[in-house]
């Protein structure tokens, strides 16, 4: 609880002057609204006293009421603006901070938390914080002020009558509060059934072709109907409370009126009250209904907001992958790849796995070398390169950049020298240019852009898009084919200049001609100085300085084309198969 309050204080404190101003105007608002009934009382008693001698006094009081009403509009507006504004600013700030934090998490976090789940946290939980820091603070101020000043005025008119009025207020408040609790419970239940219902609808619509093929509509319909009905029943429970319990609050003013007319009427008959005072008293009671209604909502807002805060805190308090690593000094950073990379007895086991995926792998990459990695599906190729580029962290003493242990280097420093084109291609719904430059508004270096587009064999195709580099890529790149996306992603890696380029099976998604072109551009013409290439194409592997053959996480062989043809069964097999394919083609 204390840490949550601290959390709120940390953010509200930054905007303390906004809040101070807001509260000040709120005080004025409440003060003005409880001053008005006093003048109403005066005017009514003046009317009852008759015209003679009272007329100018009466008119003066009516004008005061009008003046106060106009003032009330102004101060109320200001109080709301001044309090709602910082809440939105806090919302924006939190979204940014949360994103920054999320960007520092690694694979283990994203394996466990689905994107949908994270988004709902960012949006809903932060919304909860905004409700507390905006509407919540306004209502609390309003309630505290109204519920202390208004009853004071009532008490001054008649303590006894005020006590009578407290009874229905308390009773109604607790009934409604209870009703709200039941309602919140049912709202959750309703959300759950809605989730179930949605899940089933999605499941059956995705399996639509099976349902059609086997004519089993009835089964799907019955399953959905069960949830359809239970959803309706949950909604109806909420409707019951909404119809019969919650309105008690809205009618609190009317309930109080009955008591006031009865008891206050007696007072007037006894001469304790004037008729004007009776009216004034009713006006006060009307002022009470609002804050009491607000009280119910404020409690709900705080309850939900606090849940949101603790879920935000679990994210904010989580350590980022690089939190314990220090940035390299500029001179070390520049020379990070000067002596290449050394891998010594590398072992790796996934956080959710029980068997090591990489076992005792040792080799080194010198600047200027091209290294191939090959092996069957699941032999550990991708895992190996992800250890090299710092996406996976195998622990200290296994990978060295020059003399520096990779375990102590921040990911961003590693990536200033290492660029990776991974198998899964991700493109933003943005222009091709921005996807390659990974920029948003900064202008792209056109010469470099044209160069990398050419080298990644995308230049011809780009010409076919009327807007060229400014062409928008559909959501996640839907408009483009797999091969095109792969090449844009290659261009991105070439554009972001580094010292070592890692290509994870990039050539598999393109046809043979494009493959040849790419090999020529990138491998033979040294688009980059050093390279690690995962591939099962011998045409690629034969151009490397040496190739590592992985088998079941172990390094089964290492050497150049000729050596591997001699010593590696796997390499020989793929070479033979591909050779046959080539000759058959040429015969044609």
């Amino acid at each position: 609880m204390l840490s949550k309050l601290k959390f709120l204080l940390k953010y509200t404190h930054q905007y303390r002057w906004w809040y101070t101003g807001g509260i000040l105007f709120l005080v004025l608002t409440v003060w003005t609204s409880i001053t008005i009934p006093g003048f109403i009382q005066k005017t009514i008693d003046l009317i009852a006293a008759g015209r003679a001698g009272n007329e100018s006094e009466f008119h003066k009081n009516v004008l005061i009421i009008v003046g106060l009403a106009v003032g009330l509009i102004l101060v109320r507006t200001l109080s709301r603006i001044l309090i709602f504004f910082p809440a939105r600013l806090i919302e924006r700030q939190l979204k940014g901070e949360m994103f920054q934090k999320l960007a520092s998490f690694g694979k283990d976090y994203y394996d466990k938390n689905s994107t949908g789940n994270i988004i709902s946290r960012v949006n809903n939980d932060i919304n909860g914080v905004r409700m507390i820091t905006g509407f919540g603070i306004l209502q609390i101020g309003n309630i505290l002020l109204s519920l202390s000043l208004t009853p004071y005025k009532m008490w001054k008119l008649s303590p006894m009558l005020t006590l009578y009025c407290v009874i229905p207020m308390v009773v109604v408040f607790f009934i409604v509060r209870y009703g709200m609790k039941v309602m919140v419970k049912n709202t959750h239940a309703r959300m759950d059934t809605l989730q179930k219902l949605s899940g089933k609808i999605i499941s059956f619509l995705s399996g639509n072709s099976v349902i059609k093929s086997y004519n089993i509509y009835e089964h799907a319909e019955n399953k959905v109907e069960t949830d359809n009905i239970s959803y309706y029943e949950a909604s109806l429970k909420i409707a019951w409370i909404r119809s019969f319990v919650i309105p008690l609050l809205g009618n609190l003013g009317q309930i109080l009126k009955i008591i006031i007319f009865f008891v206050g009427g007696m007072y007037v008959i006894n001469g304790k009250f004037t008729i004007g005072e009776l009216t004034e008293y009713i006006a006060y009671a009307a002022l009470l209904a609002h804050p009491i209604m607000g009280l119910g909502w404020v409690l709900t807002i705080f309850q939900q907001g606090m849940v949101g805060i603790s879920s935000i805190q679990t994210i904010m308090d989580r350590k980022g992958t690089d939190d314990d690593r220090k940035s390299l000094p500029a001179n070390q950073k520049e020379e990070l790849f000067k002596e290449g990379i050394r891998v010594e007895n590398l072992n790796y086991t996934y956080h959710n796995g029980d068997k090591p995926v990489l076992k005792d792998i040792s080799f080194s990459i010198k600047p200027g070398q091209i290294v191939g990695i090959t092996g069957k599906v699941g032999s550990g190729k991708t895992t190996l390169i992800q250890c090299l580029n710092g996406y996976l962290r195998p622990g200290a003493g296994q990978i060295f950049y020059g003399e520096i242990d990779a375990d102590s280097i921040r990911s961003e420093d590693i990536r200033s020298v290492v660029n990776t084109v991974s198998q899964e291609v991700f493109l933003f719904s943005d222009s091709i240019e921005n996807n390659i430059g990974l920029t948003s508004d900064e202008t792209i270096d056109e010469k470099r852009f044209d160069d990398v587009i050419y080298k990644s064999a995308f230049a011809d195709e780009l010409l076919r898009f009327p807007k060229r580099g400014k062409t928008m890529v559909g959501e996640k790149g839907i408009m483009l084919s797999g091969g095109q996306k792969q090449r844009i992603s290659l261009a991105r890696a070439l554009y972001t200049q580094g010292e070592l380029l890692i290509l994870d099976d990039v050539f598999s998604a393109v046809d043979t001609d494009t493959e040849r072109f790419l090999i020529k551009q990138i491998v033979e013409n040294y688009a980059v100085k050093s390279m690690v290439v995962i591939s099962n194409r011998v045409s690629v592997l034969e151009k490397t300085d040496f190739t590592i053959v992985l088998e079941d996480g172990k390094m089964a062989a290492k050497g150049n084309h000729q050596e591997l043809l001699k010593y590696s069964d796997f390499y020989r097999d793929i070479a033979k198969l591909q050779q046959e394919g080539e000759t058959k083609k040429e015969k044609q």
């Binding site: 008005i36 009514i44 009317i47 009852a48 009466f58 009421i65 009008v66 106060l68 009403a69 106009v70 509009i73 102004l74 109320r76 709301r80 709602f84 939105r88 940014g96 994103f99 960007a103 994203y110 499941s203 995705s206 639509n208 072709s209 099976v210 059609k212 093929s213 086997y214 004519n215 509509y217 009835e218 799907a220 319909e221 959905v224 359809n228 909404r242 119809s243 309105p247 009317q254 009126k257 007319f261 009865f262 009427g265 007696m266 008729i275 009713i282 009307a286 599906v377 580029n389 990536r415 933003f428 719904s429 948003s440 996640k476 097999d573 793929i574 198969l577 394919g581 058959k584 083609k585």
Partner: protein
Amino acid sequence: MSRGKNNIIKNVDWQLFRKFAGYFKPHKKWFFLSLASIPVTTGAGILFLWLIEDIVDNYIVPGNVDGLIRQSLFLAAALVLNILFDGVYSYSFSKAGGLAVVDLRRRLFGKSLRFPLSYFDKKPIGVTLSRLTSDMESISDSFAAGVLGLLADSIKTLALVGYLFYINWRLTLVLLLVVPVIILVINFLRKKIRKAYNTSRTSLAKSAAYLQEALTGMKTVQLFAAEEKVLNKYDDLNKQFCDAQNKSNVYDSFLYSIVEGITSVATALVIWYGAVQIWDYGYTLGILIVFVTTLERLFVPVKQFAQQISTIQRAMSALEHISELFEQQVEDPKAEDTVPEAIALQEIEFKNVFFRYSEDTPDVLKDVSFKLEKGDRLALVGTTGSGKSTIIRLLAKTYTGYRGSIKINGIELSEIPIGQIRETISIMQQDIYMFNDTVEFNISLGRKSISRSDVKQSASFVYANYFIDQLPGNYQFVIQDNGDNLSKGQAQLISFARAIAGNSELIILDEATSAVDSITEQYIQKAIANIFSKKTVIAVAHRLSTIKNSDMILVLEDGQIIERGNHEQLLEHGGKYARLLHQFEEEEQQA
């Protein structure tokens, strides 16, 4: 011009409205109970006012204590009546609306199951889902809160104003002076608010979409050290949202404060004119007090009016969304719910078949002809996009509108009802779909003709029994959505059993390309061999063993059959087939 356009929109709205209202019919008793409560609660409200005036003028001012007690009890009774019937009104309307939505959802879900598959090619399932859930929700909510709220509030306010008019029309007129002012102010601010609100909606949607993208592509972002750039863009979108929101905040605050403050201004007006009346014309004080104490009630509907209009608009746009589902044709409108008889398959013939998926795309099948007799095993071979799957889709009537002729036992395919085709053919699809239910259900799919022993028999026919026997609970093992707790190969075996259990003569096998472990692979090959030995099969083949065992192989390229024959003949020929074969070998080697 613009008038005509408006009329059309209104017409559409009205039709939609009537269509939806039709769903209320079976639940009309709740609907009428709701309507009937309105006059009761309105009457009770007026009675409350009349009693207040009566109490002030006839009991408090003259000093009648006994009468005051009695009248106060009446006052309480009037309020109870008012609250109670308000509740009945809103509860029974919610009930009617809820029941109507249950019916609507049942009907439209059933309907969307029967949409042609091409519908879901164009519309993501998520869209249909939100039509069936959130859109329907806003309809049921909005109708209760919007239409009937507006109706009830209008009736109550009219009654209130009418009553005030009746007791003192001059004072009422003075009071009503503020109404046009309020309406003008509200209208002015509402326009501003709507504009700012729209901007904020768009930027919020943009920011949420961007967040989703950035999270999905987080790995790429991190590998390129682009966190900073992405954050800046995200923050930029959030700033747009924040600014728009704060702009609308200013108008919102004004609107709220004006509506609240206007009560006090109106009070001053009423007191001023009330004084004139009382002093000059001898009216009673009770009337003035009724006016002063009920003023706030008069402005309640004014406050809610804007909100109710926007809820109604939301309901209307939701209705419009849903109308898509109403209008979409189902796959086979003539189909009846009874399961038709399967055709006793003798032969299938494709003759000069052409096909394209839509008017503005090129043909994906060009002049395809072949013939298949009972017991034949046909393999379709070719690269992705060569038209293999399209042939299967046409035969299964997943897509219609081919040119040329496709005949089953001499009957044109377009003449055969879709249900009958589906009874005749069993398809083992490539993307295997598993229901979140038991293994037994996933094989039988609840088909009444398939008994428990049929399930076991078909499972062992396709060698699925070996792994099923290892599962906890065996045939009662519950498969997670999409088969997440099975391996890909196991899911394939279950889908084989599923197809076999239906006992169809023709099996269509769309082989999955994904790699499976070697033991399961052996079972799969054995299962396919078993199926080949008993049934007529058309296979979109990727496995060498499947291809080799076929009687006839069709090699497709770019929508055309370029080679045909059996394995030996084609290999001898040394064409495209021979080359493809090596590719398959290579893939199998690597996997």
